[in-house]
Amino acid sequence: MADTTARRAKLQWGLLNAVVVVFALIPVLWIMSLSFKTPATLTDGKFIPREWTLDNYRNIFGTDQFVRALINSIGIAMIATVIAVVLGAMAAYAISRLDFPGKRLLIGVSLLIAMFPQVSLVSPLFEIERQLGLFDTWPGLILPYITFALPLAIYTLSAFFKQIPWDLEKAAKMDGATQAQAFRRVIAPLAAPGLFTTAILVFIFCWNDFLFAISLTSTERSRTVPVALSFFTGASQFEDPTGAICAAAVVITVPIILFVLFFQRRIVSGLTSGAVKG
């Protein structure tokens, strides 16, 4: 009896999951399918391409425009992620562990930043960056990315730090560690899953951003992929760029998937098990 109900429940869950996955994946699969179609069959409405071609991919990698944008995207997102995670880790550690004046203010301000509508900041940022000579440069994008990624980083990380038993830090101090040593040798290794999770979230945020990227860049020098895509025109004016755009969209999804897969292996739960009882 219990066995069959358990099997039924499993089946129902499996069905539900399948629906969700299909729902989420259909647009992605559609784009993939489009990217393999020839211009002639592009609009035939078939899910499986009748004629397979890699031309779209050859085309986008043939243009300097796309490759350059890919490099910009990877570089900017990586640098912003590293800086945001390092700064966020320090801030989150302080928030979760130390009592210092202005702690509430810090939390409040970071919350404020997260709530601030980004659109309203675009024009002021544009003016400021032009004045400072940051417009259309890597730092010109990295800086606002860090600003908006930090609250996210601080929140996720402080949740992780709070899970780490405080006794471990006390033990490290008793064993002769300074505050910095305690953090580096005991707390940070245990917070690793949190650091990786945060890194993924921040990276995706930077990678996907369109708003800042289109407003704060003007040339290939620092234009990122999402923006470059919108400038795709095809080889000639009369050619439909849809296939190329789809190919590019597929290509820019790959790094994210790799990034997540790579870090997912490290997000093992139960890393702190055995530290304390109860």
């Binding site: 471990l168 033990a171 008793m174 055995g274 009882k277």
Partner: protein, 402 residues
């Protein structure tokens, strides 16, 4: 190795709680001192102040003659064992134990040698390459001990180190701790909730209540000569029986009959501000089945008859619960003790008497039994302040004392 001196040490938390109040305590070099008391009485706070994990609000702490109030934990050269073990989960047992030595920048060979030595003492040698997650509770506890002993610190601090273990393992580990401390001769401060640990482990026991020390002394002395109602009720299991008593015509009227009072106590009770209402305290083992008392002993005590409620045979002796007339003894201390022990465990203040009679006693449940008790072992307490009135120059001589 060093002595530890607390001189009027107090702790006030930022929120206004005074967790520890004017604690004076001198711990000699190599001594094993136990801090014991009900939950929230400031034991951990005191220990953390010695460790340097909490700041000292006022007073002075000296280790080895040196004032260390403002020194960081790492500069005090003290090791601590936590209730939660606090092992580093990302390191193996060997790495855990080597951690303090690596921080002290010792060379590899010395570290290995010291870790191996400590592992041998604690029988951890075969577990050195395991991670804490793959150890049992007792093994984790031993690793935590190992991490404390490897660097031969001036003192050990232990905060309820055995309270997470099951009863059997706790007894086993108790002897390990005791043996280890004797072997190393390191000054040790040990916090516990468990009074068996308090009685068996330490050279001296410190009883705390509400942030203040109630009494300090060797376990037997605390048991025989408690300063006040709180100490009397806290030490001993089952706990001391408490009954209300009134002074009338030079005698003490209680539910067990009218008891004679010695001259010294009588003089004390004749003062104008002397209390009329008292609390009588008798330990369970100072009762005996009247049939089994020989003539000589009989003269030192008195007898009474009471209905037998429950008989628990322990093999070596019998715990017999008697019902007696009269109300319960009431005092702030007793309520606190009852709250800490859980009302069921603390029968002391009820109108039930817990007695420990010889195993040969033929007592049965439901009958009325004649029971003898020793007048020389009585304690009398003043309910208003808890003071033990029978205590004279630190000794208790019973209510009869002249």
């Amino acid at each position: 190795m060093a002595d530890i001196v607390l001189d009027k040490v107090s702790k006030k938390f930022p929120d206004g709680t005074t967790a520890v109040r004017d604690v004076d305590l001198e711990i000699a070099d190599g001594e094993f001192v136990i801090l014991v008391g009900p939950s929230g009485c400031g034991k951990s706070t005191t220990l953390n102040m010695i460790a340097g994990l909490e700041d000292i609000s006022s007073g002075e702490l000296r280790i080895g003659g040196q004032r260390v109030n403002d020194k960081a934990p790492r500069d005090r050269d003290i090791a601590m064992v936590f209730q939660s073990y606090a092992l580093y989960p990302n390191m193996t047992v060997r790495e855990n134990m080597a951690f303090p030595l690596r921080l002290a920048k010792m060379d590899r060979a010395t570290i290995d040698q010291k870790v191996d030595e400590a592992a041998k003492v604690l029988e951890l040698t075969s577990l050195l390459d395991r991670k804490p997650a793959n150890l049992s509770g007792g093994q984790r506890q031993r690793v935590a001990m190992g991490r404390a002993i490897v660097r031969q610190p001036k003192a050990f601090l232990m905060d309820e180190p055995l309270s997470n273990l099951d009863a059997k393992l706790r007894v086993q580990m108790r002897t390990v701790v005791s043996r280890l401390q004797k072997q190393l001769g390191t000054t040790t401060v040990y916090v516990t909730h468990d009074q068996t640990e308090a009685m068996t482990l330490g050279d001296r026991v410190v009883i705390m209540r509400g942030g203040a020390i109630q009494q300090v002394g060797p376990p037997q002395e605390l048991y025989d000569h408690p300063n006040n109602l709180f100490v009397a009720g806290f030490i001993g299991s089952p706990s001391m029986n408490f009954l209300p008593a009134t002074v009338e015509e030079g005698r003490l009227r209680t539910a067990l009959g009218d008891l004679p009072i010695g001259d010294r106590i009588r003089r004390e009770l004749e003062g104008a501000d002397a209390p009329r209402e008292l609390i009588l305290g008798i330990r369970p083992e100072h009762f005996e089945d009247a049939e089994l008392v020989d003539e000589q002993t009989r003269d030192r005590g008195m007898e009474f008859t009471a209905p037998v409620d429950i008989v628990e045979s322990m093999g070596s002796d019998k715990y017999v619960y008697l019902t007696v007339e009269g109300g319960r003894a009431t005092a702030a201390e007793l309520e606190e003790l009852a709250a800490d022990a859980g009302a069921a465990d603390f029968a002391g203040a009820g109108s039930n008497l817990v007695t420990r009679l010889s195993a040969e006693s033929t007592v049965t449940e439901g009958e009325d039994r004649r029971v003898w008790f020793n007048l020389e072992k009585l304690h009398l307490f003043d309910p208003s302040n808890g003071r033990n009135l029978t205590l004279h120059e630190g000794r208790s001589a019973g209510a009869l004392a002249g």
